[in-house]
Amino acid sequence: MKNIRIIPRLDIKGPNLVKGIHLEGLRVLGKPEKFAKFYYENGADELIYMDVVASLYNRNSLHSIVERTSKEIFIPLTVGGGLRTIADIRDVLRAGADKVSLNTAAINDPDIIKKASKIFGSSTILVSIEAIKQPDGRYLAYTDNGREFTGFDVFDWAVRVAELGAGEIMITSVDREGTGEGYDLELTRRVSEIVPIPVIACGGAGSIEDVKNVIVQGKADAVSLASVLHYGVVGKYGINDDFAEEGNIEYLKRGRQSSRVTPGKLDELKTFLITNKINCRGKGGKI
């Protein structure tokens, strides 16, 4: 069995690491570079930076965060959010990203997947699919953090994305995102089984048990998680005044934990997975 990747996802708004629920209602948690360094030193397999309000903010802020991060961490860094053109992709790779995540741009012009994977290599192009389950049970793809309806069926779109040359797919359940209710196992499994490329599960982790479930039952090739790890860091190191005074910082000031998730640490998570016979890079996990 292959090694499953564990990928902390850091949502970024302006200069800050933020976390929302259903990709909305963002709370400021701190400086992304600090969390990134912490995760790198604690065994993260890759990192994802997602600029969650990219279209509203100046890109220079993101580029400088990426640049500072890439000088300190030597694991793959994927950057997404607001990348619309080949030039946008080139710029963020130049700043230090290893891969880019595309959603809106790919929906608007699926050919950009083909073009970008030809120019930068398939493995550089990750396509993010934001799925919302409909009352009739269908899963449809959305953009702009689950706000814009596209009419694309998630599974048809996933197959097409793979055919167009994407190196991997990140499937996010917008319904579960930030809720701590667990990953959408059916959604993840169906996408993972239908495409020949690796699938990263995203959205909903409330505990390390949920991570195990999405690997075993959801057939995820990699797992992205945010709240469980972020609140683990905040819980351990307390309130950090070192964040920019911008956005919703009430949560940090009050010093309250999220009631929806059980905070966890990367090394505990990996030990737990290895104990449950799931291979991953970690202590005791060597082949």
Partner: protein, 223 residues
Amino acid sequence: MFGGLKVAIIDYGMGNLFSVKRACDAVSLNAEITNDRKKIINSDGVLLPGVGAFGDAIENLRKLDLIGAIKDYIASGKPFMGICLGMQLLMGESEEFGIHEGLKIFPGKVVKFPPTDSEGKKIKVPEIGWEGIYSNRNNWGNSMLKGIDQNEYMYFVHSFYVVPDSKEIILSLSKYEGIEYASSLSKDNIFACQFHPERSAEKGLIIYRNFAQSLKIGGNDDK
């Protein structure tokens, strides 16, 4: 520490070279991303990275008139490191979208992961992730892998792997979904790896330090 020594990172339009440059920076190697043949030939060390399609890569190297430069550089005996596609290009030929001729530094071929494993289970391709590197031979300690433990994890992204005619040049093996393949090769002044040492955390940087060290030794020999 290696200030006087110059390393060329060959830029032939295949993928993102900045992470390679940053790894060089991290071990104080003076590296430049370039496609200038003179600079390449006159370098103290050369890195050939790259991701993407084999056929496009060879075509780009041909257009940039770099094939001869790479062969001449390798023949000079100075340290050379091929990474990922840069390793595959050293082989005789690749079966990627038809047969393409490689640089023919190492006899052998480049083959694709099969769609299913020996039990018929579907294999996800590309392989993206961390795998252990290991060897049952004892040449590890004198190679670019010096200081790295057996079975240490490295980061891989690939759909193809190399099958050299000579097993003697295989430095390490790795396994994905039950398929064992050569994950690094070593012969004389050439080291080549399928994984990305620049994305393999602190253990990967050891390889860059070893490469830097080999430059120093190579440089001394010339004088």
